[in-house]
């Protein structure tokens, strides 16, 4: 048997150019090379890539000292955490109700999931029309007030992501062993006791996945942010520079790259690396967690 296995393996290896070649080539173009070049450029001062000059940690110093970047970090963190809580609470509630065998649950599920398929730019447009339709009656606009901008984005994110998380929770809830629920019932546990003592502990894996997902989604949010408020309103600093009050990290990096002038592209790339470390940290924590859970099972 072992010999067949080895002969198959060596036969397969002869075809490595076909099986691996295209993906490896594209992967180098689309990820590996840009990634390492990006790391390198974050230590450089450059207008064009060809005249990049190493300047050590200058860019990182400037990036961290940039108050608009600091602001966008805290704004992003706040958005991510608030949306995480709201999305997951709402999604869990909906999923819980939908698994109670009620009439029309398929239809409800279909409707709740639908917004997830609409792209971020279009979502931003739709909601900016709606918020302005409402706020116009009060002589204001989502572009004039940071608080409206913040909650507007949260509502948009909930609308988009509740359905998605709901699907994962439904899968988790359906996997809760029926006999455990029966046993709780026989023991005379109330609905609430069953929910907190039996159901929730059993869907903990789904909860963790959803929390990680909504957290990284929140941190990486770009399209919706761009289309809904684009960072408006700004605080005008005494030197004429601005802090864009509803600008999240991804948009801040984008603006540093493409509207702040070619002189600060190195700083933008340094911001991007810091952003990468943040997001990758969250992602790796999630992977590590899922791994550990798989081992435990």
């Amino acid at each position: 048997m072992a010999s067949t296995k080895n002969s198959i393996r060596s036969a397969t290896r002869r075809w490595s150019w076909l099986f691996l070649g295209p993906v490896v080539a594209a992967f180098i173009i689309g990820f590996v090379w840009p990634f390492f070049q990006g790391i390198y450029l974050s230590f450089c001062r450059f207008k064009l890539i060809s005249d990049a000059q190493l300047t050590g940690l200058d860019n990182y110093g400037q990036a961290l000292a940039d108050i608009s970047f600091q602001h966008s970090f805290w704004y992003t963190a706040l958005t991510a955490v608030v949306s995480l809580v709201l999305i997951n609470v709402l999604a869990f509630m909906v999923a819980y109700v939908l698994t109670q065998n009620i009439k029309g649950s398929n239809l409800f599920r279909t409707v709740f999931f639908m917004p997830n398929l609409i792209g971020g730019i279009v979502l931003g447009y739709i909601w900016s029309m709606i918020f302005d339709g409402i706020l116009a009656a009060y002589n204001t606009s989502i572009l004039l007030n940071t608080t409206y901008g913040f909650w507007g984005l949260i509502i948009l994110m909930c609308w988009q992501q509740v359905g998605y998380m709901m699907i994962i929770y439904i899968a988790g809830l359906q996997a809760v062993p029926e006999d455990m629920l029966e046993a709780a019932k026989i023991d005379g546990a109330t609905k609430w006791q069953t929910l907190f003592k039996v159901t929730i502990p059993n869907v903990m894996p789904s909860i963790t996945i959803c929390m990680f997902l909504s957290l990284t989604n929140g941190f990486k949010l770009f399209d919706q942010n761009l289309a809904l408020t684009g960072g408006l309103p700004y605080i005008i600093q005494p030197d004429g520079s601005t802090v864009n009050t509803t600008e999240m990290l991804a948009l801040n990096i984008y603006n540093t790259f493409y509207t702040a002038g070619a002189g600060v592209r190195g700083v933008a790339q340094a911001k991007a690396v810091i952003f990468f470390i943040l997001v990758a940290g969250l992602g790796l924590a999630q992977l590590a967690y899922t791994r550990r859970r798989e081992v435990q099972q």
């Binding site: 004039l144 960072g231 408006l232 700004y234 005008i236 002189g263």
Partner: protein, 438 residues
Amino acid sequence: MSTNLSRRAFLGTTGLMAATLAACNNGGEGGGEGGGSSAAAGSVYWLNFKPELDETLQALAGTYTESTGVPVKVVTAASGTYNQTLIAEMDKSEAPTLFVIGNAAGVKEWGDHALDLKGSAIESELSTDAYNLYDEAGKLVSMGYCYECYGIVANTDLIEKAGHSVDDIKDFASLKTVVEDIHARAAELGFDAFVATDMDDSSNWRVTGHLANLEYYYEARDAGGWTECPAELKGTYMENYKNLYDLMINNSIVEPTALATGGHDPANQFTSGQAAFFLTGSWDYTGISAAQPNVKMLPYYCGVAGEEKAGLNCGTENCWAVNANASEENQKATMDFMVWLVSDPDASAKLVEQLGIMPYKNSAPSTNGFLNDAASYTDMGCYVLDWVTTYQPNVDQYRAALVSALNAYNADQSDANWEKVRTAFVDGWATQYKAANA
């Protein structure tokens, strides 16, 4: 300085000589057109940067070659790629003989490659030198072949209906009187003074780009004119910017608080006769005149001393430069072709149809009312407000900050909020200049 002068003199002479030679040649051939001999005398290669002009130019090139035998090649760079195409083409042995240097940055980069057009036959065709670009030594690097203008478009019919005359508007005070009177009686008249000054991306350039030009222009004039982007602004004329801005937002169909997200379609408000005043430019003439035949473009009257003599904001980035490194025959052929374009009745009519107006004595008259307004202000001896908005550093970010500050001001017109507008306008310039030139 002396070397510069002598070089200018020298180039000037060659230019003249070329013109003389051209005259001789024509005489010598006795009007015998279309001969093979003139084809050997040179050829034209025009690197065009306006894609929408391509079709007309190809047709004109064909006509010219047919009647004179001089080969004319027109290559149009794809939209947004003119600069890189120019870099690539100028290195080739068959480089363009005619190309575009449209602004001060272009003069800096390409001025050395341009022939001094001073004293040339084509220069003598010009009706104004307002659209010429010179380098620091005073060389005539390029000359405009068309221009556009912007200002305050006024609906003369509506103004008359309100019991005023557009001819009475001669400065800011008289403009203000008319505007405020119309706005006060808007309900009775059935129309208002200004359209909505929308602040969304589709419209905010009217105030962050166009209207801002008045501040830059007067400041530049005080400084003796700008030849490159200044590192900072003084903000001397912010009051004047505010005058006109306040007049627009407070005498409009739409409340200032509703302007932030836009969507009021100001162009439609104007063409449908809901308002009498609208900030726009000559490119809107066809659409506007189809709906409102009696319109006039007024200068930015904003309370500056001597503004009775103000004209419209005129400018262009369409300026011809002749390649200094081309062979003499090709330079001559190119300049003959240029003269033909601006003086031949058919050719210039076709170009004017596309370009709006050409600042040359013998070119076809313009059918664009706004450009004719611009020309008649110039004829009356008024000064042109040059386009200096084009110097805005890091334009997207600079304007975005200004929009945000103006939004806050629209919602609450306090002095503190106007200070923020001033900060974005004046200090923002210096900050963005530093960022752009870091």
